[in-house]
Each structure stands twice: as structure tokens, then as C-alpha cells.
Subunit: 362 residues, 3 copies
């Protein structure tokens, strides 16, 4: 349906108002020095994405670059996912992540079957995940799943022949959240997409426990793909061993310097990137951050430092920061739709449906 | 997608069966003396609609006239909302209103992200409405919101850059319900769309408390746009002050004669329009109507009088009335889809996508 | 939208992997000896389907043959339900059946308004089903309803002018499940579609109580359309009268030999088709099957026998059977989408929208 849409075509919405534009780095910055690599993206065709480790560095950068195109060019009229049906099966509720995927899909003209409370389906009746996977084979082209249990993806894959994207599994991973995080960072610092180390490698602070919090773990694992640009990673946690054995080994192997502290204040002024969280996992329990982990416009942040936060926020991230250049969290939330679109187009093999304005390298 | 749809094209459904046709005034009656005014509708482009007061008289009439076209002409094949994504965020459950908006959207080929129980999303976790608004910016083109709290729309607008349509806010308003009400009345009495007063100005009876019931309040506020056609408004309520100060002042200023009574029986036979309700708000509580407020086919209604009811009904509106000419409530429910379509097309700037059969004035 | 979709077009998914292909009979087998009969299908235009008895034998076979085409040919690009809006109103929760219908619709480019928990809408407020039907008239083109009460369909039809498809009503019927069951059997034994009796007429075993379990009842009633191919039907139940009077009379009239037993083991080795269930209705209660009704790969099944199961399964159907040729239940679940598509295309009058590859007889 490429008929002209008339003068009121939705393209207007692509230009954000002045006030927020200042907070949102221009996505085209990361297209100046390179285009998405087509073979890297095509290698994702029909591939399931369970972990950040399923992506190569080339794929991460190419997905972010394709996302930058999708954020800059109006492609709705090309209907690139026409005829594709995506099942969003959320066995752990998350309106935000679910509708981010659904918006990503619908704007490309894909269709959605939404199961917002998967836990209330057959599973409650005792049905196994493998059987649910078998059922899904007849119903759609791709499954996006969130589950409270870490091994749930492997279990459903016993019956499932469709590709599946992990939207959060227990204490496991949340790879598309990490894509959204690093896409925001790349827009802020386009040099991250290049091989040559940036002039001043980053000091990154991470609130939380990568060993048991999947968003933090996936962020850290994806950081390994950018290690030449990283000077240090500081984990802020009350726990003695917030990394956990398996993550620690991977990080050690890759040779990133990781410091652990429970005193955020002491390190704050040296950090270029601060990854905040509204909850932390202490032992087996999630608790809200206490006062010593709160940031506001008066906090002693380094000039030019940016804050990430996988929203929703509570009081740990004060609204006084929203109008400052430290706010990268709105860009992070906004960009999540576009990295997910880039991934869906790749896994579903619809890169050929994109308009000619989007240049891929071969 | 203007390809021919074959002989079984959905156009057949446009002709309702005999029995109900008699209950449904022909929408084309209000097109005989005028067409929708294009500049008035285009002035709604990207505008948020929080209150009936956001519409001019010209806009109300033009929306109803456009609705009359939409009810008469098959436009599905024109896909006028192609590529537009609408978020229905219902922080107070209402299947009826939600699916009315969703049907309106889908039939124009818009897409829907449906959040039927918004209260269970981030808000429960303490997330602010402004942050939810910020999130919505990335997800869609327009938000339709219902909320239990009257100030919720203003709060979400602090973060939201998309237009928003109020689908009911606490004790506030419900402007599209009022559009549906007056569209039904206009179909029944096309003279309401003209400037010259109708031959026998209307006596309107209103069950409920406009001060605290948003549907009744919005109906009354929209009545002000038709004041030259109104002889009197009688509010039937057990409360001493069912209007409340702010509404009373607006009504007084506009010079509509408002009577207040608790005895519906005494006034019934003089009323041309009776706006019924299944609940009334007494003090802070909603209670079902008691027996003295019930209507059935044996009630002493004026000849030619019509009944409105924002359904769902309980026992206050007996089914014996369904097959009588007093039944305007089915037409009112039916027409709600079309006034909502008229509004969506205007706010989303897609009037140009309509077929040539629909004539607008310039 | 018939534009070329590029080399990654979804057609690839039509070829299932080796391992499962062996479990899934080729649907094209039932097209060798005949095509769907167009007049039979067109007679379903705008017809409501409440019972298996609403179909003629010719219609059942033609729906299955059309389903065989839909399972074999990629027709997504033809958008045959473009512009059609289907309401799935589930007053009794069933994710599986609901998303089977929704997937069937969306893949044909129809739109869905989904009411997954109809019991929480107006009905809770006391609203009658007839009024809900009246409301639906304005919202869509067809209603698919499931309800806990057997007479719910008749009640909603008092207000509804749209066609309605029964997706399970109390102890009534579930006609599209029976279509899925017999479509699977027809793929396994294409001779069932012909008039001449098959060489070795079938011995069918049925676990459950057709009198009070709607899936079993609908399966049995549809069996009557295939009686020339059936040698015997054995009902396995703990109840003295699992058929119930009305079903018994119909079955007796049609002259099918029905045996009743509570000992599955005694008959198992003689059965060609075993229709399993995870629950049985004993008196007024559903209970899980006990150990004597369990099947696994070691059960003494006849060579070539097949098992049906309207999933979800519990322990009565062991996973050791999944990889055996006895497994017809995966094909049964898979095919449900296509028989539902065949029915939707017929009831909504969109057979003309199908590609020329699909041959209908006149």
C-alpha cells in the first residue's frame, strides 16, 4: 500500500518538540561512519535469541544502526512485516515490555496475538510448556516470551519450531533490553560503534546484582562487546558477591576491570555512565533502593555523564534530572521500539521489504 | 488496497434489517441541509479532547455530519487510518467504551494497543502518570484514556506529547459519549444542526447529577451548543444541588432554564427527550435507580418523545420499550462508533483519505 | 496488497521440519479425489453455527477440503478477510480456542476485537446478553462466543443481527472442535471424504460422556456424517448413561452401533481411533482421568491406530506417544486453525478473495 497518504501523513510525528529533542541524541550520528551490515543481520534469520551471547559484536552494532534508520525514516507505508504473526506470551506480567514489542510489530504491519497473562492458560491446568510450544507452531511465525522461570525458554523449545525471543526469563537474561541500553549509549557516543577505542574510555557504574537481575546481567554481558571503549565497570551493591560465579568467569575471561562497592557516593563523580534501578535483589528478595542510592539534579555527577534506567522508576531517580543533559533514560525507553523492530525484521527475514533510503552494506 | 472485493463485499451489512431500521433514524437526514465543515474539522488536528468545551458548535455539528457519512458509506476499503497506532489506556475498566473506540479504529485500518487494565501496570508499582505519558510517546500516535481520577489527564499530559482523548475521567467528563448522545438526537431531529430554532424547542429531562456524573455533565455541557433549540432542562435527582457550582455557573451564563425536581412522574408527560441512567450518584455513592425512576411501555410518555440511555441498563429501562419509537438508545449506542471515527480522522489528520463520496465544505 | 514480498516471504514456514512431517499427514491427500463444493460453502454465508447439526455432510467435507488448501497454499498475501472485524467474546476463559480463532482471522487479514473475560463486562453489572448482542451489531461483522451456560447463544441472538459461531456453550456443543477432529481423521484416512465405504470401517473409542461434555458430543454428532465408514463406536465411561437421552435418540435414529463400557483395556487393541480426554464428567463434576485410562507407547494399541486429544493434556496421554505414528493429536491441534479459516471465509462471504490455485467445484 504505497499510495500517497495525503498532506497529513504521519511523518510529522518524527520531529519531536524542541524541549525533548535536546534530551534525545540524534540517531543519525551512528550512521555517519557506517551502515548496518546485511550479512550480519541476515545471519539472524529464523534464529532464536535467548541471550546477549547469541549476538556477535557486528550484529549488535548493525541492529543499532538499523534501529537508527528506523527511528529517522518513516517506513510504515512499506508494511515490511505484512502477513507475519507474532505471539507475545507473557507468563510474567510486564505491560511496558509487552507493548514495546507490540508497538514495534504493529507499526511494521505485523499482527499480534497477545497473551498478557500466560500463567492463566493451560499451564495452570498442568499443561507442559513443550505442548504450548507445539500449539504455537500452528498459530504464528515468532514467539516473544517472558517467564518467571529461568529454564522456561528451553522447555518451550522442546515443542516449538518457531524462533523465540527472550523478553526476560527468571534470573536469566533480557537481551532486547540490553540492545535498547546500548543503542541509547551509541546514540550518545557514536564512537562506540567503531573499532578504534574512543578518546576517553568510559567509566560505567551499575546499580544492582548482575548475578540475579537479568536486565543488569544482560547489560553487563553486552558491555563485553564494547570492551575497548570501557575503562572500568563499578558494581554498586550491598551484596558481597553481586556478580555470581558464571558471570564473573565470563567477565574475567574477557578482561574487563570490575570493581565492587556498596558506596555509590564515593564513585559517583568519576562515572560517565550510571545504570540505575528502582529495585535491587538482596539474597532472594527484591527491595526498593534506599536513600543512599538516590540521584537528583543536585547529585555530584560528572559533567557530560548520562544516566540509564530501565523504567519504571520510583524515587531513586528524581524528576529534577529529566530536563538535564544527564537524562538518557527517556532516549533509552524511546529507542527500545526501534531496536526491537530491527531484530524482528532480521529474524523474520524481511530486510528486503525496507525502502531504498535504508542502505545496508554487503 | 482498493482492489475490488468481489460480490460478497461487506457493504451488505450497511442495510439493517426491517425491524431495527424503524428504530434507527436515517443518518442521511442531517446531510440534507449541510455538509461537514472541513476547516472546523481540520482545526482538531493533533488537538487533545478533554472536555466537551474543547469543541465549538461548528465542530460538534461537523463531527456528527461526518459520522452520518461514515454510517452511510462503506469506507473500509480506503484504509484511512493505515499506519496509525492508537493506545487505549483504561485505568478504569469499561469494555463497552473501550471496544467502541477499538472497533472505530480497526474498521478504518488503524492499529490498537489495548491496555484494558491500566491500573495493573507501572502505576501499581508507584510509577507516575507523567512517566507513562513519556513512554507512550514512543509507542503510538494517539492515546484514549479512562481513569478513576479526575486530574489524571492533566497528569499524564506532563510527559505526553501525543494528542489524548478523554474516555471518562473520575467525576469529570466523557466528551465522546456526549457526541454519541447528540448525534442520536440530531438524527432524530435534523433541525438541531441548523441555526434557526426548531419549531417546537425541546423539553429535556435528565436523570442524575451533572455535578458528579461525567456522562450527564458532558451531555448537559454539550446541550449549551444547542440552546436555541431547547425550551427547558429538567434535572431529576434526589440531591438538593445536583448541578454543583461550576456547572451551574456555566449553565446560568449561557442562559438555559434548568429546573430541579425529585419527582420524575410529574414532568414525564411534558418531556421530548429523557436521558435515563442505571445508576445515580447520591453524595459520594452510586446506587441503582429505585422504582419511581423506571420507564416501560406503559409509562405516560409524550407522543414522539425519545429516550437516551448510556447503557448498560438494568431494570430502570424496560425491554417493552425496545420495539417502540421512544427507543433512541439503540441508535445512540450504534452511532457512538461513527462519531468516534469522525473524531479520530480529524485529530489524526486523515480527512484526505476519505472517498470522494464524502463531501466537505470549505 | 499483492506486491512481491521478496525472497524471504513467509512461504518457508509451510514446509515443516522432517521430524514432525512424519507425524502430520499431508493435507493434499483429501484433495486428490475431490474439491470443495462451492455452493455448499456459499450456503454458509451469514449463517450462525451453533451445532454440528447446522452442517450438512457436504459442508463438513467441503470445509475440510478448503482447510487442506489453506494448509498447503500461502494465501496471506491475498488478504481475504480485509476489512472484516470479528469479535471473540469468551464468557468462559479458553486461551487455546480463542487464539486459534484469532490466529485464523489475523492470517487472513481480518481484524479482532478480543474480549477474553466477557464475564467481567456488563454482564456482571446485570446487563442482559440480548443487550450485549445489540451492542455487538455496531462493532463487528461476526461474533465467536464461548459461554458457561448452554442457552447463552440463544439469549444473545435475541439482540444480535450478526452471524455467531459457537466456540463452546456449557454442556452443549463445540462444533469447530469437531471440525478440527474430523479434518485430522480425514487427512489420516482420505477415504472418509468419499461416499463409498472404506475397506475396513473404523472402530472408534471415545473417552468421556457425550451427554454432558460438549467436545465429545460434537465429535459424536459429526461422526453421524461418516456413518458408512464406521463399524462401531465404543464409549468408555464410569457413568451408567454417558450418552443421555437426546444424544442417544439421534444416534439410534441414524443407526450407529454404540457400545458402552467402563473397561478401556478390554477394547483398546480393537480400536482404530481413540478419542482421549484429560477430564471426564462424572455426575455434575469434572475429575481427572484415573490410572486405568492412561495411554503410553507401551499400551497395546492396534497397529495403525491413531489417538485424538482436544489438548491440553495431563498425564493420561504420555509424551512417549508423541514420536509414534499413533500421534494424530498434534495434527489435530495444528489443523484447527485451517478449518476455522475455511468456516470464516464461508460465513463472511469471502471465497471470491482466494487465489486461483484454490479450485472449487460448482
Amino acid at each position: 500500500m504505497n499510495e500517497p497518504l495525503g498532506p497529513n501523513k504521519s511523518a510529522e510525528f518524527l520531529e519531536p518538540p524542541e524541549t525533548s529533542a535536546s534530551l534525545r541524541p540524534d540517531p543519525r550520528g551512528i550512521l555517519k561512519d557506517g551502515a548496518p551490515n546485511e550479512p550480519a543481520l541476515r545471519a539472524l534469520f529464523r534464529k532464536s535469541i535467548l541471550s546477549v551471547r547469541d549476538f556477535s559484536r557486528e550484529q549488535i552494532i548493525s541492529l543499532c544502526r538499523l534501529a537508527a534508520y528506523l527511528e529517522s525514516v518513516e517506513i510504515t507505508a512499506y508494511h515490511p512485516l505484512d502477513g507475519k504473526l507474532i505471539i507475545t506470551a507473557f507468563f510474567e506480567a510486564s505491560t511496558r515490555t509487552r507493548i514495546s514489542f507490540e508497538s514495534a510489530t504493529l507499526r511494521l504491519d505485523g499482527k499480534i496475538i497477545s497473551i498478557p497473562e500466560g500463567g492463566q492458560t493451560g499451564v495452570k491446568k498442568g499443561e507442559g510448556l513443550a505442548d504450548i510450544g507445539e500449539m504455537f507452531n500452528a498459530y504464528g511465525d515468532l514467539v516473544i516470551m517472558r517467564h518467571t522461570e529461568t529454564d522456561a525458554l528451553e522447555r518451550i523449545q522442546r515443542g516449538l519450531r518457531l524462533p523465540i525471543i527472550n523478553a526476560g526469563n527468571g534470573t536469566g537474561e533480557h537481551p532486547t533490553q540490553a540492545l535498547a541500553d546500548w543503542y541509547a549509549l551509541m546514540k550518545w557516543c557514536p564512537g562506540l560503534a567503531l573499532d578504534e577505542p574512543i578518546a576517553e574510555p568510559l567509566n560505567i557504574g551499575l546499580l544492582g546484582t548482575p548475578g540475579s537481575m537479568r536486565t543488569v546481567k544482560s547489560f553487563l554481558l553486552m558491555a563485553l562487546a564494547f570492551k575497548q571503549h570501557i575503562n572500568s565497570v563499578t558494581i554498586v551493591s550491598e551484596m558481597a558477591d553481586p556478580l555470581g560465579k558464571p558471570v564473573e568467569e565470563i567477565v574475567r575471561e574477557e578482561g574487563i576491570a570490575v570493581k565492587i562497592t556498596n558506596d555509590m557516593g564515593k564513585h559517583l563523580s568519576g562515572l560517565d555512565v550510571i545504570y540505575m534501578n528502582s529495585i535491587v535483589c538482596i539474597g532472594d528478595q527484591y527491595t526498593a533502593m534506599d536513600a543512599s542510592y538516590k540521584l537528583d539534579a543536585a547529585s555530584p555527577l560528572k559533567e557530560g555523564a548520562v544516566i540509564l534506567h530501565p523504567l519504571a522508576r520510583l524515587e531513586e531517580l528524581d524528576k529534577s534530572l529529566d530536563a538535564t543533559p544527564h537524562n538518557l533514560y527517556f532516549a533509552q525507553a524511546h529507542g527500545a521500539v526501534f531496536v526491537r523492530q530491527a531484530l524482528l525484521l532480521s529474524v523474520l527475514g524481511r530486510l528486503y521489504q525496507l525502502p531504498g533510503d535504508i542502505q545496508l552494506t554487503h
